[in-house]
């Protein structure tokens, strides 16, 4: 029996629009297990990112509840949420979102300082190690505007990992990258997962989705189906892609 890390129960999210409310998520029930690489897929406008940010507490919900490690985080205060983000969650965004006036290394260390999971010196050492691991050490002293998209995204993953998060959220992390950089980033994420890191990733790319061991398909604000796979192995990538593609086709993807 897998340990439930994050659980969403009857999650609703509506946006006001022209005096009425547009329902994006409609009573979504979802569980994310510890150690899993969970993927959320769906067509554009299906509510994938909305669900990701709702589950991560980045965005408020209009109904339902979310628990993380059995704590009801949907009713957390702003301060509790900040602590949760600093210590338990890591985020990788599509647009990298590195602080523009900090170097890549500083972007990583600042996140570590906020997490307060180690002494400043240990954080600095860990940040350098992570950047090395993410093959971004050469650009460590540069500003985000001075590095390539791939380097920036690898640094963003390092930043997300600096506090040893319980769960790593990734929103289309390869969406703004070319093929080579995308592959590199996905390999890094797979590597992290194989080392026990729980990941929840949104993507619309089947090639990225095959990295997960569990794929949730979202349509019209509801989870329509899910696919469970064994842990990703590079050698099985082709067959895995075929499996996923077939499953997606069955869902009218």
């Amino acid at each position: 029996m897998k340990e439930i890390l994050l659980k969403g129960t009857n999650i609703c999210k509506a946006f006001p629009e022209n005096g009425t409310e547009t329902q994006i998520l409609q009573s979504v029930n979802v569980e994310v297990y510890k150690g899993d690489f969970t993927i959320i897929m769906g067509a554009s406008g299906a509510g994938k990112s909305t669900l990701l940010y709702a589950l991560s507490g980045m965005d408020s919900i209009t109904g339902g509840e979310i628990t993380y490690k059995n704590q009801k985080i949907s009713s957390f205060s702003e301060k509790q949420m900040a602590t949760l983000r600093a210590k338990e969650f890591g985020f990788v965004f599509q647009q990298t979102h590195l602080a523009s006036n900090l170097t890549l290394l500083e972007n990583v260390t600042v996140a570590g300082y906020v997490s307060k999971t180690a002494s400043p010196k240990e954080i600095q050492e860990r940040a350098s190690r992570l950047l090395r691991q993410m093959r971004a050490e050469k650009a460590a002293g540069r500003l985000p505007s001075q590095v390539s998209g791939g380097e920036a995204q690898r640094a963003a993953i390092a930043r997300a990992m600096i506090g040893n998060p319980g769960l790593l959220f990734a929103d289309e992390p390869t969406g703004a990258l070319n093929k080579t950089n995308s592959e590199e980033v996905l390999n890094l994420l797979s590597g992290l997962n194989q080392n026990g890191q729980s990941i929840l990733m949104v993507t619309h790319d089947a090639k990225a989705a095959i990295r997960g061991n569990r794929i949730l398909y979202l349509e019209d604000g509801q989870i329509l189906d899910e696919l469970t796979l064994p842990v990703f192995k590079e050698t099985e990538a082709k067959e895995r892609e075929e499996t996923v593609t077939a499953w997606l086709s069955s869902l009218q993807w």
Partner: protein, 783 residues
């Protein structure tokens, strides 16, 4: 039509900045209009009233003569004099509720047919009809006595007419406007009484003989035949040379000198406020500059787009000029409208200090001229600052290149794990230093002016000691002058029963003529006590010291010889030094006792015994004890002066006004700058929130940037104030006869302006950053 659409859209888009500009211009122009109003109207009014009320080119206060008319005739016979008017009066000391007057009061016989004076309503909010006559036992006083001695309607004033308790008690029936002696800056005060009381007092004086304490006298208003060509000093010299006036004169002042006394407070504070307004206008320019630069940066691509559809750089600049003019012109109009009620408020609140009701009719010509010049300068500045619009290349702008304005060099200041907020604040501050330069410069200016006025306040001190020292020829704690046969040993024993006397000297203030001009002489037994600015004191009996104003008036310097005439003879004296004493606006000279006695008569009553006390807190107790014991036979004065309360309260009001304006300006500057910064940093703020920063920690970091920028500005402001205050204030103080201004502020008074400005910037930045709550991490999703 296109211009109009863009103009309207810009107004909507930049309404926050325009409201800020409006508020700043409104405050600066409201203050400017009020200062111009008070300054110009009070000057014009006092001169006008002096003329209307029939005061001459010179006014001489005389006593000891039996027939003032014959002296007046003597003067009228001179071709330089057209006429001399006489106002009979009685000189007498007085007490109000136990407080002894600082100078002699002048009981003036009131003639309703003269229409010389204007009378205030009981609530001091306007004028009323002048009384037909003043009833016996009633008296009309200047409203400045309200601030000087706490007098109110119905209070009693006791005039010391003769020894053995022959006092005359009056009840205050009302207040009148005295353009001549009404200001609290002038110690001598005029009191209007009726015919019956006047004659009664004269009879008491005449029947009391040597026991009389009050004296009969007169004010002689001397009108020059040709005031345009004859200066008042020449007229004074001519009269002294050709008539017996100098034998009877107590003091003599020109109309300009009297107007100067009357206007000291208004001019001094108007000058300070004008300097403050100038600083506020500088702040307006700085804020305007920052607002335009950041506005262009934010609208860069929009303007590029507009250029692609045919707008020219000139058109866009005109639109920007027009949009800022809405804020500026609006602020000016409201400021101008507010100036009149504000001036009314100033008139009402200062009446009990200035003694006159300053008209609140806006000097519209001057205001329009000042505002017109200001508008022209601001328009020129806006036109210059919008130059980058001219250089916007459409395609580059659309591609997102925001030109030189947007190119920011990121600094590499350290980020410390233990002081994360400080490190981030420092990084953001140093990276965007151009954006904080405005806040820094505003801090420089505000701290400089606040520090300068704070130093003046510190110099003045809570009890006005700084100013008293400037007005006194020599320091002392308490002065005692006896009029009768009272032995000084007895008085000194009484003082010693409270505290030891550590030192003492004698000072007399007789009238002398120096090179034919009348001056008060400060005659002292220990001339080394004079505050010497240049040269040395008058140690020999043929030496004299002059203030720099007298030296300049007479055209003499150290080493020159002057002719001095006293009440018993004349002699030649060498000017040994220049000393400081602001009494009579600096129109005084200093002599040693030995030197004076060569030309003046000695008398025990002439001398005031000045004492230094071991325990200065006993001054008030000693004063009360001596007054109770010796009554009218003794005059005690401390190192203070009732007019000081007016100055101190005006200074306190100025400090409150200054800090309120500083707070409002900092608020507007911080909100304007902070809003632009927050708008530009939304994404970064979202990122920090996603990393786990709380709103509070981000707000603290944001306010730290302003604290650091304003701290730097404050430090520069303090340094400037330290180097420039004494020079600037000394130059201004010379107008009031004070030539030795040197501030020696305490650490607290030095640091207070910097600390206040820094804390205000930090506090308002923290409040402004409250909108960070509204910046959600979802901002990162929408991209």
């Amino acid at each position: 039509m296109g211009n109009k659409v863009i103009f309207k859209a810009n107004i909507k888009r930049h309404r926050g900045a325009l409201i800020g500009v409006f508020i700043l211009v409104f405050l600066a122009c409201g203050a400017l209009g009020t200062v111009l109003n008070v300054w110009l109207n009070s000057g014009r009014y006092v001169h006008g009233e002096l003329t209307r009320a029939g005061f001459g080119s010179l006014t001489a206060w005389v006593s000891g003569l039996t027939d003032a008319r014959s002296l007046a005739n003597e003067m009228e016979n001179l071709p330089e004099v057209s006429s001399v008017e006489i106002q009979n009066l009685i000189f007498s000391n007085y007490t109000v509720d136990g407080q002894e007057s600082d100078s002699e009061g002048q009981l003036i016989l009131y003639h309703s047919e003269e229409i010389r004076y204007r009378f205030f309503t009981d609530d001091l909010h306007g004028y009323q009809e002048q009384p037909e006559a003043i009833s016996p036992g009633e008296i009309y006083v200047s409203p400045s006595l309200v601030s000087m001695m706490g007098l109110t309607l119905g209070d009693e004033i006791s005039f010391l007419i003769a020894r053995s308790g022959r006092d005359k008690v009056f009840t205050v029936a009302g207040f009148y406007e005295d353009p001549f002696m009404g200001s609290s800056m002038i110690g001598m005060k005029g009191f209007l009484i009726g015919e019956e009381d006047f004659q009664e007092i004269r009879q008491v004086i005449q029947s009391s003989g040597i026991d009389a304490l009050a004296r009969e006298g007169a004010m002689l208003h001397i009108f020059a035949a040709d005031p345009d060509t004859m200066t008042s000093s020449n007229l004074n010299q001519t009269i002294n040379d050709n008539t017996s006036l100098s034998s009877y004169v107590e003091f003599i002042h020109s109309e300009n000198a009297i107007a100067g006394f009357m206007l000291i407070l208004q001019n001094a504070f108007a000058a300070m406020l004008m300097a403050f307004v100038a600083v506020l206008l500088f702040v307006v320019v700085i804020v305007l500059g920052y607002s335009i630069s950041s506005g262009i940066e934010a609208d860069y691509s929009n303007m590029g787009m507009l250029k692609t559809i045919g707008f020219t750089g000139g058109q866009l600049r005109s639109i920007w000029l027009a949009q800022y003019l809405t804020g500026i012109l609006g602020g000016m109009a409201v400021g101008l409208a507010a100036a009149t009620p504000l001036s009314h408020l100033v008139s009402n609140t200062t009446l009990t200090t200035t003694g006159i009701y300053i008209p609140a009719h806006l000097p519209i010509g001057w205001c329009l001229l000042a505002f017109g010049i200001l508008l022209g300068l601001l328009m020129g500045f806006i036109w210059l600052k919008t130059r980058p619009i001219r250089d916007i290349a459409p395609m580059k702008a659309i591609r997102g290149d925001i030109g030189a304005a947007g190119k920011i060099k990121v600094s590499r200041t350290p980020i410390w794990g233990k002081h994360l907020q400080l490190g981030i604040a420092l990084r953001q501050l140093t990276t965007g230093k151009r954006r904080y330069a405005g806040a820094c410069m505003v801090a420089v200016l505000l701290v400089f002016i606040a520090s300068m006025i704070g130093r003046m306040d510190s110099w003045l001190g809570p009890d006005g000691k700084g100013m008293m020292d400037a007005f006194n020829p020599a320091d002392h704690d308490i002065g005692v002058q006896v009029f009768g046969e009272l032995p000084m040993e007895e008085v000194e024993d009484a003082i010693r029963s409270y505290t030891d006397i550590t030192d003492d000297y004698l000072l007399a203030m007789p009238n002398v003529a120096v090179n034919g001009m009348d001056y008060t002489a400060n005659v002292i037994t220990e001339p080394e006590r004079f505050h010497i600015l240049e040269g040395r004191t008058c140690l020999e009996d043929n030496e004299i010291v002059l203030t720099e104003f007298v030296a300049a008036n007479l055209g003499v310097g150290i080493g020159d010889t002057v002719a001095v005439t006293g009440d018993s003879g004349s002699g030649e004296y060498i000017v040994s030094g220049i000393y400081s004493c602001a009494n009579d606006m600096g129109d005084n000279v200093g002599m040693s006792r030995e030197g004076y006695l060569k030309i003046g008569q000695d008398a025990p009553q002439l001398w005031c015994h000045h004492y230094f006390l071991k325990d200065t807190t006993q001054k008030e107790a000693i004063r009360l004890a001596l007054e109770n014991a010796y009554g009218g036979d003794i005059h005690i004065h401390e190192n203070t002066w009732p007019g000081l309360f007016g100055i101190i309260s005006a200074m306190q009001a100025l400090m409150v006004f200054l800090y309120v304006m500083v707070a409002i300006f900092i608020l507007v500057v911080t909100v304007l700058t902070g809003s632009k910064l927050l708008a530009a940093e939304q994404r970064d703020m979202g990122i920090y929130k996603a990393l786990g920063f709380t709103n509070r920690s981000l707000r603290l970091s944001f306010s730290l940037r302003f604290a650091m920028a304003s701290l730097l500005g404050s430090a520069i402001g303090l340094i400037l104030a330290n180097f420039l205050t004494d020079k600037i204030v000394s130059a201004a103080m010379k107008l009031a006869g004070i030539s030795n201004f040197a501030s020696a502020p305490s650490v607290v008074s030095v640091l207070l302006p910097a600390l206040t400005v820094t804390l205000l910037f930090a506090g308002f930045a923290f409040l402004t950053a409250g909108r960070l709550k509204r910046i959600d991490v979802t901002i990162l999703i929408s991209e």
